[in-house]
Each structure stands twice: as C-alpha cells, then as structure tokens.
Amino acid sequence: MSGTYAVRIGIQRGLREFWQSVKSSQDQGFYIFTGLLVVGYLFLRRDADVAGTDLSFAAVTLPSLLGLLIAFGVVIGPAYALAMEKEDGTLLRHKAVPHGLRGYFTGQLVFQTLSLLPQLLVILVPSLLLFDGVMADPSGWLTVAWVIVLGLLATMPIGMIIGALVPNSQKVGTWGMLPVMVLAGISGIFYPIQQLWGWVQVVAQIFPMYWLGLGMRSAFLPEEAAALEIGGSWRTLATVAVLGTWAVVGILLTPPLLRRMARRQSGSQVEAGREAAVQWVR
C-alpha cells in the first residue's frame, strides 16, 4: 500500500525538480548553450550536401545529433545526479523515511525523462525554422517517439549504474563523460561509420548510441537515404533488438545495484564526501 504511495510522491518530486530546473537560470543557460552549439554547427554548413546525394548536410546530421544528445543527457544526467546526491545526503534523507528510496528513484526517472524535452525543443524548433527538408515525412514523428522511448529505456539504466558505482561525483567525468565522448566519435554521428576500421564499427554497434542515431535518421530522412547506411537499410528490427536488449538488461540489473548502493549509505559517508569537497574547493 505505502509502496505505490511512494511512487506517487516520487512522481510529484520529479515534476517539482523539473519545474525548478526549467526556472533555474543555470539550467536555462545549459539548454541554450547546447542549442546554440548544435544549431550553429549545422547553420555554418547549411549549404553543404552529403556527397553523392541531394540530401543536405544539416538534414542528415541533425537526427544523429539528437540521438547523441539523448544518449548523452540520459547517461550523464542521472550518473551525475546520483553521484552528487550520494555525496550531499539527498539519498540518505530518502533512506531515512519509509519507502523513501522508491520515491527518490521514481523522481529521478521522471525528472531525467522530462529534462529531455527542453533539450530537444531548443534544437528542433530553430532547426525546423532554419533548414529545409528536416522532416521528410510527417509520419516520421511516430518513429521519433518510439526511438526516444526505447532509447531512454536502453540508456538511462547505464547512467544510473555509473552514478551508483562511481566513488564520487568528480569521477563521473572519467567513467561517464569519457566513454560517452569516445562512443560519440565512433557511432556515425559526425561522419558515416563506414569510414572507420571494421572492428571499430563492430564495437560501436554493440552500444546503444549508434542505434539511437540510426533510428533517428530513419525517422527524419527519406527512404532513399537508407542507402548511406551499413547494408543500405535502416535495419529497424536490429535497432529494436539491440536497444531492447540493453533496456531489458538494464531494467533487470539496475534495481539490485541501486539497492546495494543505498545499503552502503551512511552519515559518515556523506561527511567524508563533504570533507573531500571542501578540500577540492580549497
């Protein structure tokens, strides 16, 4: 009875955190910065075409970048939040109230999911206004929706697991940011994946980021653009299979890992985090 009650409190918590984030100038600044970066990058190359086709560079790269930003936001966001809130006592506060951890993780899920909205909006709205032929066929929005949902399920557990495992928030850079950047470099976001060595292509295709980008391209681009992809196809079934596998593994693995992490939370750990942070500042 109190368990489902806690989920309801968690949803309220997530909504509140989202609202506070949207109102905060720090987060607004971050959204606008990424929006300017992405749209600016595409705008500078607005007249370029992809070699051998009549597709514009902007049209091909935008969906890939959206895929990247979703993966980035949903991995680094929860990883950083969790690492931070382990240190500052947020998690411990929830451990001290009945069913509080269930509420806390529900809140994280809601907040991190909602945080994608402003992120996507600041990029999509100016892009649709500035560039032609961004969405080849309106039915593509349906594909956008399921790719995002499946991509979220596939990548958010990774972020949570990184956040649970890192010893402190400064390590999120090494264990979260770095691998995500490397994957971004090899997942066919900025240039076709076929330009890379065969084994690098294999590595990239193990992880969800490549498939998120591919799924987004399949949603935005016309059918004939599939010729640019590996095997000349959107490989929709493979996309569902890979992202689905990550999602299932993540959903099975995350709860016990989070429970294990929460069990180790204590006041002394928070105190140690505080002392470490104070030294960091000095």
Binding site: M1, S2, Y5, A6, I9, Q12, R13, R16, E17, Q20, S21, S24, E85, D88, G89, T90, L92, R93, H94, K95, A96, V97, P98, H99, G100, G103, Q265, S266, G267, S268, V270, E271, R274
Partner: protein, 310 residues
C-alpha cells in the same frame, strides 16, 4: 499511549564493530527506556557515530544483538522506518527546494502510518514555526545559514512524529543562541511528544542540560552509564570548598560539602568569608576519564569505571 512502545526502546547486547583489523567497538551493552533522553559521550574516534549508525540501520555491525523498537535495524521493515527519526548533518542537498516544499515532500511518506493518537506527518507550517524557520519557509534552501540549515535538518528528522529520535552531534557549529533554542526544542519534544531521544555530543554542557542519562563510550565499551549528577558525584566523588578566615585562604576537598560547611560555620562563625562550594561537574568527571584514555590507559579507565559502577 497507543502505539508507543513501553519497556525498552533500544537494547544493545555485546555489540562489536571491526573495520579491517581495527576493533572500534569491543562489546557495547546498554538499554534505553521509552521517554528517556540519553546522551552518548566519548572522545573522537571512540565509535559514537558508528554506534548510532548501527542503531539507525545505516551500518552493518560485526557482531552482537541490537533491538530498536523491537526490530533488528539491520533488517528492519519500512514500517519500522516510519517510527524512527534521524537528524542528518546535510550540507548542500536540495539547494533549489524551499524548506516548506521539502518538509511537505518528505513528510508525505509518513501519511500512511498515521494512527488516531499519533497523526503523521506534522503540519508543515507548525513545524517550521517550531524550529523558527517561518520567515525562511519559502526561501531556497541554499540561501539558509548554517544554523538555519541544521534547524531544517531537525524539522525533517521529526516530521514523521517519531517515537525514537537519533541525533548525531546536532549542535556542531551552532552559535550560543542557536544552541539554546535547539535545547529548548529538544526538551519540548521530549516532554510533549514523549519522544525517546538518543544523541551524541562533544558538548558536556549540552549533555548536562538535556540528558536524563549519560553513556560514556571509551576503549570500545560503555565505561559509564548513569545520570549526569550521579556520574559527576561518583567519578570525582568530592566537593571542593574554598573560604577565607582572617585573610588566610583555605581549600578543601570533602565528600559532603553541606556537612563540612555547617561545621565550618559552627567553628569560625562570622569570620568565614569568600565562601565557594563547587560540586564536581560532569566536565571534571569526563575529562578525568578522557585523560586516562588519551594517555593510552583506556583499558585502565574502562576498568576503573566499571568498578565504580558495580
């Protein structure tokens, strides 16, 4: 009193804790009855925080038996959590929340545990008023001063109307005014709600003001378990009397200050001047203990005080 436990609220039997090869607790025994305010004292590194974290269910003990409100905290249910309050020392969590929202949010978890004689949670507005945060209720938490933050910590600890409250060094970093207000709050909590309270502190004055009973943790065990008065009297054992007769200063340590002073007056009458009678304080008692402990005679101190108790 409805769902309020009668009899022992906390029972600790031969509690042991070992970190790696270092034994921090080597057999801690004590009990706390409903309604008591118990203060756990001890030098740095004696294991006060470890002990309280084990009782809170935040740390797994190495050995021994622990019962808190009838359950083992290491495997206690979420229902048990609803009856226990923990005052945490936070430092930067929830910076964008306001005290009112955070209290409302965390208090909501207790609503399913309300009973007719113990409505849960506390009303947010009243609670904020009680801890003196009404004026800051709608400010962002990162705008609060250190003392205000700690008062919010206390409010969060008691929002679920706990039957048992744990506080680990609650007034560290308080100014004297904030400390006084905090002591009033704890006394009210104990009197009005019959909340059983266990707190750790370095501040002996605080222990003297608040505690109905004091436990001293040293050398990995409880070396003293008594009321503040009883402890002070037994450890130092004596009262210091100072006086002057005809300009000559005298000082005497005696077991019974009252009787000694009466004799003094019957002997010297009006020529006794500058009389000062000072009972041994908790501080004297505590310092003599810590000195022995710090000098590496912890074991001896433990034996000494065990003998004094028996």
């Amino acid at each position: 009193m409805g769902d309020i436990a009668t009899g022992p609220v906390v029972e600790v039997d031969d509690l042991r804790m070992r970190y790696g090869t270092k034994d921090v607790l080597t057999g801690v025994d004590f009990g706390i009855e409903a309604g008591e305010v118990v203060c756990l004292l001890g030098p740095n590194g004696a294991g006060k925080t470890t002990t309280i974290e084990i009782l809170e269910g935040f740390r797994t003990r190495s050995a021994g038996t622990v019962r808190v409100l009838g359950e083992d905290p290491a495997s206690a249910s979420e229902d048990w959590r609803a009856r226990v309050g923990v005052v945490l020392q936070s430092w930067r969590d929830h910076p964008r929340w306001t005290p009112r929202r955070l209290l409302g949010q965390l208090g909501a978890y207790y609503a399913p545990y309300a009973t007719p004689d113990r409505p849960r949670p506390h009303d947010t507005g009243l609670l904020l008023e009680t801890v003196g945060l009404s004026d800051q209720a709608d400010l962002k938490i990162n705008a609060l001063s250190g003392g205000q933050r700690r008062r919010l910590d206390v409010a969060i600890g008691i929002v679920g109307r706990p039957e048992l409250l744990f506080l680990d060094e609650p007034t560290a970093g308080f100014d004297p005014q904030a400390r006084r207000e905090f002591h009033d709050l704890i006394r009210r909590l104990s009197a009005a709600e019959r909340t059983t309270i266990l707190l750790t502190t370095h501040d002996l004055d605080e222990a003297e003001r608040l505690a109905t009973r004091v436990l001293v943790l040293a050398g990995g065990t409880i070396v003293a378990d008594d009321t503040v008065d009883g402890l002070a009297r037994r450890i130092a054992g004596e009262t210091t009397v100072r006086w002057r007769v005809d300009g000559q200063a005298y000082s005497e340590s005696v077991p019974d200050g009252t009787r000694f002073t009466r004799q003094l007056f019957s002997q010297y009458g009006d020529s006794v001047a500058d009389l000062e009678i000072r009972r041994a304080s908790l501080e004297d008692a505590y310092l003599s203990l810590v000195q022995q402990h710090e000098a590496g005679h912890g074991e001896a101190a433990a034996r000494l005080f065990t003998e004094a108790t028996s």
